[in-house]
């Protein structure tokens, strides 16, 4: 039995993917290098701006945002101040700023792509049937695998890091947008239709406002996923806290690894609570 199976020649899947990649890098190299240069300049600019802000001012601004966003409760405010002071104290401030830039860029790109895709999915069952398996694929494929095409397209650095993060972090926004719009009560959709709304009016005036909290939950997930890609993206040279974790790993420095990891956790908690409280507010 096993002999019969052995007689089937191995399918050249890996080779096909490789030659597709070769074709893409060969023919679209102009586009990729434009994105690489433009993206790198934009992100360096943002990082430099963030670093130029005096840390004290930065910490106070975050604390103020936390104060407003959590409707005047002090838990998150105190946590933010102590946490950020700790990161500064450990000499990881610049790395934190790099990480913030990476997270902001990949989240925004994921949201810009994800929400329209989610809307498309909610409006067309055909689109849903096509996009859903792709999202499943994107989420189950190990994050490391995205590093390979990222490097092939963009070389190493922060731009391929963003590319890999976007692919990894995109699915929740798409899924939750689709879910949120499909969950709008039937009677309200009928009400919108019965008063003669166009499809666009129905979307803007009824469906998106009602799906808002679900979409925000998806965005929260996307931000956290892109943050979790920070360490992995550092393997292809993306700067930030992830790089500290990686270098501690390579040199077996338990202490440094713990400090860098803890800094990431602190930042993740602040980001998570902030995006969640934006959702709760009316």
């Amino acid at each position: 039995m096993s002999k019969i199976l052995d007689r089937i020649p191995s399918l050249p899947v890996a080779d096909s993917v490789e030659s597709l990649m070769d074709w893409l890098t060969g023919n679209l190299s102009g586009l990729f290098s434009f994105l690489q240069n433009g993206g790198k300049n934009a992100m360096d600019f943002i990082t430099d701006m963030l670093i130029a802000i005096p840390p004290v001012v930065f910490i106070l601004v975050i604390a103020l945002i936390a104060f407003i966003a959590t409707s005047k409760k002090f838990g998150l405010v105190i946590f933010s101040i102590i946490g950020l002071l700790f990161i500064y104290n450990q000499g990881l401030w610049e790395e934190l700023m790099n990480t913030i830039t990476l997270v902001i860029f990949s989240s925004i790109i994921a949201i810009i792509i994800g929400i329209p895709l989610g809307i498309l999915m909610s409006k067309s069952t055909v689109a849903e049937n096509i996009i859903k398996p792709i999202l499943d694929f994107m989420q189950t494929m190990p994050g490391f695998v995205y590093l390979i095409p990222a490097v092939a397209f963009f070389g190493i650095g922060v731009v391929p890091g963003v590319f890999a993060s976007v692919i990894f972090a995109l699915p929740p926004t798409v899924r939750f947008t689709n879910l949120g719009i499909r969950q709008v009560p039937r009677e309200l959709v009928e009400a919108a239709d019965s008063y003669g709304s166009t499809g666009w009016q129905k979307l803007i005036k009824v469906e998106l406002p009602l799906a808002k909290s679900t979409i925000m939950a998806g965005i929260n997930q996307t931000v956290l996923l892109s943050l979790s890609m920070v360490v992995i993206a550092s393997m292809i040279g993306a700067p930030g806290l992830g790089r500290e974790v990686l270098s501690a790993l390579q040199r077996a420095q338990v202490g440094n690894g713990f400090v860098a990891g803890l800094s990431l956790v602190i930042f993740a908690i602040i980001v998570d609570r902030l995006t969640q409280s934006l959702n709760k507010k009316k």
Binding site: A191, S194, G196, T198, V206
Partner: protein, 399 residues
């Protein structure tokens, strides 16, 4: 004048539509067709016309296709076959743009669960129809405020729907429909989610309104009482088919078949003549909190001489009279416990009016309607006799 004309309209949901239609012609039942083909008959071969200014009630039990039928009229659901004419124009042949114009200008819909947008204020909800038509902000606010004013809801215009009671929400729903100034109102079980007392008020309001504005109203209900009360003509549906169309009198005196007859008998026995249908909202005092002065003030406001007494769980305790309260107030008493009288008879809400007659005719005071020891309403002699008089006609008409 004919406003709406429906000709041989059929709607089948699901696949295998043609084989399902063949089975209908063979007089197979709805469940049988579903089992054999997987298709559901929504509406089968419905034909009727509605005159301008008429209240046309479509009545049937749940699953009879009445909600589907009303959605066919504004094409929220597209018919499988047949034609629908509004003012002589065939809307089944219209493109999206023309259909939108009809929906915006000619017909508005009121929904069972109100269909109000939760993130919009009462005013913004009322403006919705005008907003999608592209009417400038100032003008639409003016029109929407006028519609709310008519419904007595203007003070609530900045509240959100969730802050209002069910009855008020449906008044907003109605105001939203009227703000558009449509010729036709489609009301899909509009009052069915409201409790019986409010429902009656709303029916009265609708009739008053109809006196003034003369719209063409298509009203869907499963409640025969409601249908008889407000309908100029009634269409009775079963399993997607219209069984009989006529005035309430026609249907009661000449039921088209056994189904209609059993439907009417069933309704007469269980619904038409119960205490719940004749009771009114109770005027009450809380014996644990309110003193004689509060009681007197309330009697003055409500123009009654007897108040029912409840505790804080709304459990029925008795009643107090104006004379007693006046004396208690003069003596400076702080609560009404001493003057509480307990000789009032109580009846359950599902008791038949006929059985109550003996009790109420001998009693000089009203009867308390009590369900699970909670006060739910009050029966007053005058109202009972009045309800009996109108319902009596229906009963004799039926026999």
């Amino acid at each position: 004048m004919e406003k709406i004309k429906v000709e041989h309209v059929t709607k089948v949901f699901g696949k295998h539509i043609n084989s399902a239609l063949k089975l209908v012609e063979q007089k197979k039942s709805k469940t049988e067709i579903l089992k054999q083909t997987g298709a559901t008959i929504g509406v089968y071969d419905a034909s009727f016309s509605v005159n301008e200014g008429e209240i046309f009630v479509i009545m049937g039990l749940s699953g009879s296709g009445k909600s589907t039928l009303v959605r066919l009229l504004n094409h929220l659901i597209e018919p499988t076959s047949g034609s629908i004419y509004i003012d002589g124009e065939n809307i089944s042949q219209m493109n999206k743009q023309q259909l939108r114009t009809i929906r915006r200008e000619k017909m508005s819909m009121v929904f069972q669960n109100f269909g109000l947008f939760p993130q919009r204020t009462v005013l913004a909800n009322t403006e919705y129809g005008l907003e999608v038509r592209g009417i400038p902000k100032e003008e639409r606010t003016k029109k929407a405020e006028a519609a709310l004013e008519n419904a007595g809801l203007l003070p609530y215009k900045d509240q959100f729907p969730s802050q209002l009671s069910g009855g008020m929400q449906q008044r907003v729903g109605l105001a939203r429909a009227l703000a558009n100034d449509p010729d036709i109102l489609l009301m899909d079980e509009a009052f069915s989610a409201l409790d019986p007392l409010i429902r009656k008020d709303m029916q009265d309001e609708l009739l008053d309104l109809q006196q003034k504005v003369r719209k063409t109203i298509i009203f869907i209900t499963h409640d025969l009482n409601e249908a008889l009360r407000i309908g100029d003509r009634i269409a009775l549906m079963k399993d997607g088919k219209i069984i009989q169309i006529g005035t309430g009198e026609d249907i009661l005196t000449n039921p088209a078949n056994d189904y209609v007859r059993t439907f009417l008998e069933d309704v007469d026995r269980s619904k038409v003549l119960t205490v719940e249908n004749a009771m009114i909202r109770p005027m009450s005092v809380n014996v644990e909190i309110d003193g004689p002065k509060v009681a007197l003030k309330r009697m003055r406001e409500e123009k009654v001489s007897v108040l029912l007494a409840v505790d804080k769980n709304r459990e029925f305790k008795g009643y107090i009279t104006a004379d007693d309260a006046l004396e208690a107030a003069r003596l400076g008493e702080k609560n009404v416990m001493r003057i509480l009288r307990t000789d009032m008879s109580t009846v359950p809400p599902d008791m038949l009016i006929q059985d109550v007659l003996g009790i109420i005719s001998e009693s000089s005071i009203p009867l308390a309607v009590v369900k699970e020891s909670k006060l739910v309403g009050v029966l007053i002699k005058g109202v009972v006799i009045q309800s009996l008089a109108s319902d009596g006609e229906e009963v004799t008409g039926n026999e």
